[in-house]
Symmetry: C2
Subunit: 384 residues, 2 copies
């Protein structure tokens, strides 16, 4: 817990909930009759409402991107190192909006919410949502907040896919797209990793086909395994070597199947921690949204044609040791944007931290993000 | 099934079993009072017994490396493309020995064998074996076959680790070591993948702490998941892209959690096939042997010092897209061998097939292996 709130923090923040009455037709054809979105805002919206920045979260993120909910909080929001006064996403200039996506488990309508049509938890009956559904729901939140056009939409990983989708779906409604450690679509290998993780959950006897709530249990074992695998792929081989190498927990081999190497204990710890805080049905949904994302599919699989409809400028960033969403995948985006004659800046950041790098305060990364967004702030006339 | 046996096949082969009465003290300190090894041989041992080649198998391999057991066999042995008359491991020149390792599930003593001290299956009570234990047991098999010195010991992946260990443990007993797609020790990332796979098995309710035989069941779900993950890491991202891309089974998204993409179906198929043929306790043991392998640990973690005790020549090979045992890991072996003034050849083979490449008939790979072993054949005076 912070004894005092640091000077460069957005400070204490209170999540807000907006209820949407208008039905939302989803990519799958199913309809959400009504829903809530929980969100937080940091900084001040300026008079001409031109300085709003939307943060899109990744697989396991939520609306609590910066600051503290109380003086008892052990940790600030998940991207606190990048959002705040004087930080790359500078709340002295920008009005920052972060939300929990539909299907999430942090307050927005999702599998753990009550289905108004049945009076029971949605559970596995919550519809599979696609990235475009999130973007549609985010656009309605923008309407509710009186934001006609975002100064920038920013996101990493699955968040970066939402940013790409924004630029195609609502070309008039954003001036800048910041796409970090992302891809224009998942590779077969990415999908395969997601499926192995989903299987771990689906085959946990406590999953009960997603109706675990009715059995008063959670698929803790499956969710732990899914997260262990996920976490492992977010780290680079180099980072794991530096962090753990072949260090043994007790300094010697035990010739048993209990975790012996430090790296095993670490993954168990990460997996178990996650399994008590995250909803399994949400995890299933989020990985499906990742698998499905492929905006070029609507344009005969031509990414250039797909992106030619965009009007914003782009900053694309990747990290050298990220093998889950490698620099090559970011370059596919950059190449297509250039071919479509879009305004695009690209930076590949040296880092040992694999995919996780996009969440870390890496100096060069924050310098590039900061420099880009400073120009955006000037351009949109944000107060300096 | 082969209608006729191909001319370059070793033909119909019959596995043999050797029973060893002398107790074997294992790395763990535990003792196997007696044990069987099942093996096959191809080609003829020459008069001065100088032309014997030992094949060491990887995680899921066994003694059936080449030829057919009957005219009804659908497939030949696992390395049939490399072993036979006129093939790289040429049975016109060499007497080839392939065995199933201790702890295996294909006929050698392992978890599914009867423990003579209890009259019941070993199951999870079978001791965790290390690579050095396998090499010790292989040396006893060599004794039994009257082979004082191998012309070459050959293996890929975990098999390559046995080859390395042979060269250190019995320097006088081999003239050539062929180490393919291997590593001097696993990285933290490798260990992490193994632990996630083991967890899938260990947490399957049908595993019963390894006593599934007593419950008349097998942990099919866990073993399927473990194999799905393993298989996924044996393929390269490029190979998966070429093979599956984002192809859908039914040509469209179903918005359900059943496998939709071809790559998902493929992995399910591979996993399920494996789960009915392989023993789960053996899988657990084999992955532990991988994790534990680190011959330099006995030499103050100095691989050069460790390998300085070797007397054989080496051929080391790796494959460009193998990310489970990358070329970098083979180069660590090569660099240490050079620093230790050993005779070493190294080839990194262009291939899209990831770690699986070591099992495939890649032309350049087989040319290099062939050329090297031809010189070995001449050197040891194998009949030409």
């Amino acid at each position: 817990m912070p004894e005092v709130i640091p000077a460069d923090s957005v400070g204490l923040v209170t999540p807000q909930v907006h209820h949407f009455d208008q039905p939302l037709t989803l990519r799958s054809g199913r309809v959400l009759p009504e829903y809530d979105l929980v969100y937080e805002t940091y900084g001040q919206l300026n008079a001409n409402r031109s300085n709003a920045v939307l943060i899109c979260h990744a697989l396991s993120g939520d609306h609590h991107a910066a600051g503290y909910h109380s003086m008892e909080d052990r940790k600030p929001g998940w991207w606190d190192n990048a959002i705040g006064p004087g930080k790359p996403i500078d709340t002295n200039h920008f009005f920052v909006v972060a939300l929990n996506n539909l299907g999430g488990c942090a307050g927005s309508t999702g599998p753990t919410s009550i289905n108004p049509q049945t009076g029971k938890q949605y559970g596995p009956e919550f519809p599979i949502v696609a990235v475009r559904d999130w973007v549609n729901s985010q656009a309605r939140l923008a309407d509710a907040l009186g934001i006609e056009q975002w100064a920038a939409v920013v996101g990493g990983s699955l968040g970066g896919m939402q940013v790409l989708r924004w630029s195609i779906q609502f070309p008039e409604r954003l001036r800048h797209a910041v796409v970090i450690a992302s891809a224009p679509k998942l590779s077969a290998q990415n999908i395969a990793f997601n499926e192995v993780a989903r299987q771990a959950i689906a085959k946990d006897p406590d999953f009960h086909d997603g109706y675990y709530h009715d059995y008063n249990t959670i698929p803790k074992v499956g969710l732990t395994q899914a997260r262990m695998l996920g976490h492992l792929t977010y780290l680079s081989e180099d980072a794991m070597r530096q962090k753990f190498g072949r260090e043994l927990r007790e300094g010697k081999l035990n010739f048993s199947f209990a975790p012996e190497f430090q790296v095993e204990s670490y993954l168990h710890y990460q997996g178990e921690k996650f399994s008590t805080r995250f909803d399994a049905n949400t995890y299933m949904l989020m990985t499906k949204a990742l698998d499905y994302f492929d905006p070029s599919a609507d344009y005969n699989h031509d990414l250039v044609e797909c992106l030619s409809h965009a009007k914003c400028s782009y900053l694309v960033m990747s990290f050298t040791t990220d093998w889950r969403f490698s620099p090559k995948r970011s370059k596919e985006i950059v190449d297509a944007l250039m071919e479509a004659n879009k305004n695009v800046s690209y930076a590949c950041i040296e880092s040992d931290d694999g995919h996780d790098a996009f969440l870390l305060p890496i100096e060069r990364y924050h310098q590039v993000l900061s420099a880009y967004l400073k120009r955006v702030a000037v351009e949109v006339g944000a107060k300096a």
